[in-house]
């Protein structure tokens, strides 16, 4: 093709998804670490949350570093979702007549769930921000200006914990395929051994993230973490 541009190809879109995906991975690992502070008690958890807002002071204004990180995440979200949408539409147009019988030999369930799993995570993300960041809705009507109390009040409600556990399963499945897929897209898996390592790494990180996030809600529901 005359005048073909590498940056306009489907692979460039995938590179956008891979890089933004790795930024999200860094975020969820840091977020999980912060959540686990709940096991250290009310003060440790709230101090951590408060410190996030003071990060970088006095060089940066109050919440300055937090907003820089947030802007980076918002940009990553726009890139990740926009590229996914374009690739989804392309894939739908690549096969408009479906097979009567189709087996997906050699595939994992996680790899086939990426798109709807991603939508699930996006819907959860909106719910989660309304719950804890923007809206600060306390389902038990208690305090909302105390992050620890808001968290305990939320996960004491069984169906709230259930929503979060389901979301973490979706996130785990997304990471299970997404991490190795991003490594492959970046061209890091050029041999069978490297591919195997990337798949194992993806699976282990997915387990750590989904279990690490689920521990706190389950501990609240079980009465291990209390106000």
């Amino acid at each position: 093709m005359k005048g073909a541009r590498a940056s306009r190809t489907t692979i460039a879109l995938k590179l956008g998804m891979a890089v933004s995906g790795f930024i999200f991975l860094g975020f969820v690992l840091a977020h999980m670490y912060g959540n686990l502070k709940a096991f250290a008690g009310h003060d440790a958890f709230n101090e951590y949350a408060h410190h996030l807002r003071e990060l970088g002071e006095p060089m940066l204004p109050h919440e300055g570093a937090l907003w820089i990180l947030r802007l980076g995440l918002i940009l990553s979200l726009v890139v990740h979702v926009a590229c996914a949408f374009v690739l989804w539409r392309r894939a739908a147009r690549a096969r408009t007549t479906k097979y009567v019988v189709k087996k997906n030999t050699g595939t994992t369930r996680a790899s086939l769930m990426m798109r709807w799993g991603g939508v699930t995570i996006l819907v959860f993300l909106i719910w989660h921000l309304l719950n804890f960041t923007i809206g600060k809705v306390n389902p038990q009507g208690g305090a909302t200006n105390d992050p620890y109390d808001l968290m305990v009040d939320t996960f004491d409600v069984w169906w709230m914990t259930l929503i979060y556990i389901v979301a973490m399963l979706a996130l785990g499945a997304h990471l299970h395929h997404g991490i190795w897929s991003a490594a492959q897209t970046l061209g890091w898996t050029g041999t069978a051994a490297k591919r195997q390592r990337a798949k194992v790494f993806g699976f282990v990180i997915a387990l750590i993230v989904s279990i690490g996030f689920s521990l706190v809600p389950l501990a609240v529901l079980a009465g291990i973490i209390t106000k």
């Binding site: 590498a6 489907t10 692979i11 690739l87 009567v100 050699g106 492959q184 970046l186």
Partner: protein, 247 residues
């Protein structure tokens, strides 16, 4: 063996198609899959019906001409081409569903025949090396490491049958492109055009309407030549390098 066959019939490229059911008796387990279809066509000829159109050429598993979706697997249940698949891989009384490759970039010509010209145009876009005419240079003047030569040869076994596209849930031809880009990119002769090659091939691939790869791996499971997923990593890496070089 007695079989029930559900086969896609479509009179031409523009008319709508549908699945038709046929009964076929006394099939030998030693027949190849295409020989079984030959027998069915003889039966259809005797009944004055239009025989089923399907592609085949060498029937040795080396040309890449044949290719059918058999019970939801490209080239059927074995790791081989449709022509090298034998009826012993099926059971007596089985119902077998046979469909053409489904990809909008591979339009159906008739029944089970699809037009894979899109692959030819991808090759024309960059799947070659330019060599000046004149006497052939001394082969030993360009040394190739044994590992590279072996790997290039292994991925050069791609016969361009299109099973990767047929199996891919995204209808992507990344395994095919990856095989070509890896094969030529490993050899010294492929270096001068390496950046242009990957950019032009991928741009042509996108232009033909193939989907993007999501690394599901259905392609490599369907590939009769067992081209590994490594080649897609190489394809992505070459494109990333091309972006870095300003393409």
């Amino acid at each position: 063996m007695n079989l029930t066959l559900k086969i896609w019939r479509q009179p031409d490229a523009v008319s709508p198609g549908a699945m038709h059911t046929y009964q076929l008796a006394d099939v030998s387990p030693d027949m190849s899959f295409l020989e079984m279809l030959d027998v069915l066509n003889e039966q259809l000829n005797d009944q004055g019906e239009d025989p089923i159109a399907f592609d085949s050429d060498c029937r040795e598993g080396i040309c890449g001409m044949c290719g059918l979706m058999i019970n939801g697997d490209a080239h059927g249940p074995e790791v081989t081409t449709t022509c090298q698949l034998h009826m012993r891989s099926f059971t007596d009384g089985e119902t077998i569903t046979i469909e053409p490759w489904r990809s909008d970039a591979f339009p159906v010509v008739k029944d089970l025949v699809v037009d894979r010209g899109a692959f030819d145009r991808i090759i024309q876009a960059g799947g070659y090396v330019s060599v000046n005419t004149g006497s052939a240079p001394e082969a030993h003047s360009v040394p190739v490491p044994k590992d590279d030569a072996d790997r290039a040869f292994n991925v050069a076994t791609c016969i361009g049958c299109g099973a990767c596209v047929a199996a891919c849930p995204n209808g992507s031809a990344s395994l095919f492109m990856g095989a070509k880009v890896t094969h030529l990119g490993l050899l010294p002769q492929g270096q001068p055009e390496r950046d242009e090659r990957v950019v032009n091939m991928v741009a042509q691939h996108d232009h033909e309407g193939f989907g993007g790869c999501t690394n599901i791996g259905a392609c490599t499971a369907a590939c009769p030549k067992e081209i590994p997923l490594d080649v897609i990593s190489q394809l992505n890496r070459d494109l990333r390098t091309a972006i870095k070089h300003g393409h």
